[in-house]
Symmetry: C2
Subunit: 156 residues, 2 copies
DNA sequence: GGTATATCGTCAACCTGGTTGACGATATCG
DNA sequence: CGATATCGTCAACCAGGTTGACGATATACC
C-alpha cells in the first residue's frame, strides 16, 4: 500500500484535500442560502470575532493592509454579513460587527465541517483522522504557527 | 494527546501545513537563484510536461481559459522559464517548452520537497507520514480526484 | 477543389483582491 | 497647545482570472 512516494506529492495531497473540504463546504452553504459566500468570507468573519473589530484591526488580524481590509469589509457588508457602526470612543474608527446572517453563516459552516469530518472518520477511522490532525498540528507548531488570513493573495 | 477536535480545524491544519511547505520551498528556491518563482510557476511548468504544450493545451490542463494561459505563459517567458517556438505542423499554434532554467527550477523543487519530506519523517516517523499520505490520497480518490491547476484563482 | 466549421492565439474590457502613497480628521503624548 | 500617530478613504497600480470578438489557419464534407 505505502509504495515509494515522492516529496512533491505531499503538498499536492494537502492542497487537494483542503480544496475538497472547501468545495464541499461551499456546495452545502450554497444550498443553505449562502450561494455567494466565498472561502475568504468565512475567514474574515472569523477574524472579526464575536466583538467585532475596526477596519485597521481586521487588516492586522488577517495580515493585509487596512485598504484591503476595507475592500473586504465593503464586500461583506454588501452581502449582508457584517454591519458597521460608529465607534463610541473613537470618532475616526468604524466598528465592524457580524450581522445575524453572518453568525448564521459561521454556525452553518461549523455544522458542515463537523459533518465532513465524520465523513473522513467513516472512511479512514477515528484513530487515523486523529493521528492526521495531530501530525499536522505538530508540524505547524514546530514552525511556530502559520498565518492564514491572507491565504487568498498569498498563492499568487 | 488526541483531545476533542472540531471539524473546522481539519481544513485549517491542511491549509496551514500546505502553506508551510510552500513557504519553505520558495525560501529555498530564492536562495538557489530563483527569487521570483511563485507557486504557480512550478504548477505551470509541471503542466507543460517534458514535451511542452500549446497555449490552449496548457489552459485546458490547468483548467483555465486559453487567455489566462497566455498571460501565465508570458510571465514564464519573461522570467526565462519557458521558450516559445512555432509549431511545425500547425501554423496557428505556439509550442511552449521548458527552458534549461525551467528544468532546473523543477529539479531544484523536487530536491527541496524531498528534503522537506525527510524533515517530516524525522519529526513524525516514516509510518505516520506514509499513513498521512495514504489517507489524504484515499479521500481525494474517493472524491474522484481534484483539479489543482487553477488553485490560485479558485480561493477568491 | 471549394466551402462550412472548428480551433489557435491575441486583443480589449472588465472583475477581484491585493499593493503603496497621500490626505483630512481625530486621538494622544509631552 | 503643539507635535505626532493612527483611522478610514481615495487614487493609481498590478496580477491573474473572466467573457466576447476576430483574423488566421486546419479540418471535414460535399
Amino acid at each position: 500500500m505505502t509504495e515509494q512516494r515522492f516529496g512533491f506529492e505531499l503538498p499536492l495531497l494537502l492542497a487537494g484535500s483542503f480544496r475538497l473540504l472547501i468545495d464541499a463546504l461551499h456546495a452545502e452553504l450554497a444550498e443553505q442560502g449562502h450561494p455567494d459566500a466565498r472561502p475568504s468570507t468565512g475567514f474574515a468573519l472569523q477574524a472579526l470575532g464575536p466583538d467585532g473589530a475596526t477596519i485597521s484591526e481586521l487588516g492586522r488580524r488577517m495580515g493585509v493592509s487596512k485598504q484591503a481590509a476595507a475592500k473586504a469589509a465593503a464586500g461583506l457588508e454588501r452581502l449582508g454579513y457584517v454591519e458597521r457602526e460608529p465607534d463610541a470612543r473613537d470618532a475616526r474608527s468604524v466598528r465592524l460587527r457580524r450581522s445575524a446572517r453572518g453568525e448564521e453563516l459561521l454556525a452553518a459552516s461549523a455544522r458542515i465541517f463537523e459533518r465532513l469530518r465524520t465523513d473522513w472518520v467513516r472512511e479512514l477511522g477515528a484513530d487515523r483522522v486523529g493521528a492526521l490532525e495531530d501530525d499536522l498540528a505538530t508540524m505547524i507548531a514546530g514552525a511556530g504557527g502559520v498565518r492564514l488570513g491572507d491565504l487568498p493573495g498569498w498563492l499568487r
